[in-house]
Symmetry: C2
Subunit: 304 residues, 2 copies
């Protein structure tokens, strides 16, 4: 393997057209440089320079080496900087996952936008997937962080930041009796007797439990008509007239035809969280920067 320093020296010789001056520029004496060039020639089995009375001239092979060496040196010279920038989290890749319901809340795209603005050297890669897939990807290192609805705190090797809570709203078929009472907030007990379609928790306690608990707190036990594996799919079932559901307010953004949303009144404890999950250890500096950014943004809206 040709040592990089040799190439550097040879480039100096080629550029100066003279070994003596090149040696000076390299901060070394002339004889070692002379030997170095001969060493290169011996290693390659090729004459690189013609020794003239005044200075040296590159042969074709020398010219070729010169050009190759310059590109390699330029590339190699940038390595140290690049690596250091990556280490400081100023450059690199950040893979963020989120569930489709988390992506609906403006905070999530807002946080990504803010991070990209602060860290222009970082390439962000996004992935939308189910909670279980996200957890898997986190543990395997395919993702650096993931926005999820459920508190996955208890999952092995993961750590979770609570980002925000948002209110929940009732969603019912457009033709439903409760949909005709105008846009005023609905007291929770009004939903007693309705058939519920709920998102089944994929991991740990989630919205499902919160909703059931809130109904009990309001004095009734909800009738669970059906469960859905994804928050978004509950709305499809509502639109089909199978029942009503309670979803995070940001789900209204879907504006699904045939579904009417109504705010809920006085439901302590009935809110939908958004959390940001990381690996407990081995997270990249970039991931840590992203965590900081999200925390700062979350505090800026003081938990609203």
């Amino acid at each position: 393997m040709i040592a990089l320093r040799r190439l550097h020296a040879f480039v100096a010789v080629a550029e100066e057209g003279q070994m003596t001056r090149a040696a000076e520029r390299l901060g070394m004496a002339q004889p070692p440089l002379s030997r170095l060039v001969r060493g290169l020639e011996a290693e390659l089995g090729v004459t690189l320079v013609r020794r003239l009375p005044r200075g040296v001239a590159l042969t074709d092979a020398g010219q070729a080496l010169f050009e190759e060496a310059r590109t390699v040196l330029a590339r190699a010279g940038g390595i140290a900087d690049t690596v250091r920038r990556v280490a400081r989290g100023e450059q690199g890749r950040l893979a963020i996952g989120f569930t489709s319901s988390a992506a609906l809340h403006p905070f999530v795209p807002g946080a990504l936008l803010a991070f990209r603005a602060v860290q222009p050297g970082v390439r962000t890669e996004l992935e939308e997937a189910g909670t279980m897939e996200l957890i898997d990807a986190l543990q395997q290192g395919r993702l650096d962080a993931a926005f999820v609805r459920t508190p996955v705190e208890s999952i092995e090797g993961l750590v979770v930041d609570h980002v925000l809570d948002e209110p929940m709203v009732a969603a019912m078929p457009a033709g439903h009796a409760l949909a005709r009472n105008g846009p005023s907030p609905l007291p929770l007990p009004a939903l007693a007797g309705e058939k519920f379609i709920l998102y089944r928790r994929p991991a740990g306690p989630g919205l499902y439990d919160a909703i059931v608990a809130a109904c009990h707190g309001a004095g009734f036990s909800p009738t669970i008509e059906q469960e859905a594996p994804r928050l978004t799919s509950t709305l499809s079932l509502v639109a089909a007239g199978l029942g009503i559901t309670i979803v995070p307010a940001s789900m209204e953004q879907i504006a699904m035809p045939g579904v009417t949303f109504r705010a809920l009144l006085g439901c302590p404890g009935l809110f939908a969280p958004i959390n940001l999950a990381f690996r407990r250890s081995g997270s990249s500096p970039i991931a840590m920067r992203f965590r900081d950014t999200v925390r700062r943004l979350a505090n800026g809206r003081h938990g609203s």
Copy 2:
């Protein structure tokens, strides 16, 4: 500057995911490799690998170094081969110049074609210019070789190979009296009394002198009506009816309207040479290969 061998070692560590195995692959003991990695980390001021109970895992910075190092190593690894191929004349650049009149003879494009077939790694660059410009470019090293009509042997620092001689033909206006006698060869004395338009030698003795000498040998002294700086431009003047000229037979290929060509009969010494000029010293191996190719081709047509 990061030594290339260090990068090589680091790549091995990254690929093996384990220092012990990487050391084995590198043909060295484990402790030096361990130190080498620490040395890299110290030099960059960055942690490159996380030491795990089993093996090591790259940090973001380590991953970045890994990717950068691989590209640099790949490029550097090819250098030796490239340089050696260039030295053997199998790869590189060959700049060939020629006068417009030389380019008309099929031998010249034929030679270039043959050389490209034999040396596919060599990029040929062509330039058409006047004899003086070609000589300049040769001396300054911008060209490796040049096909010229005139024997530039005496020019300082150049050396010339005689490639071939071709017969010359008379060129006259289409309506000229001599043009009506059919395509049979014309004895040179028939041109006595005609007005001649001749190509003036730009350097050393050339066609001009050969033509004048041949006329004297045929018993008459030609009337020089006009001189032209380029062989091709004499034909324009002939077409304009200003006189007749004698040009290399390959000039017939121009098929200029208004010009009729007739072969000449029995003119010893009246022929047009094509020569190949090189720098006397410092020519590249590729240029020498081209010289060989041309010589072989020229011998193949045994001086015809």
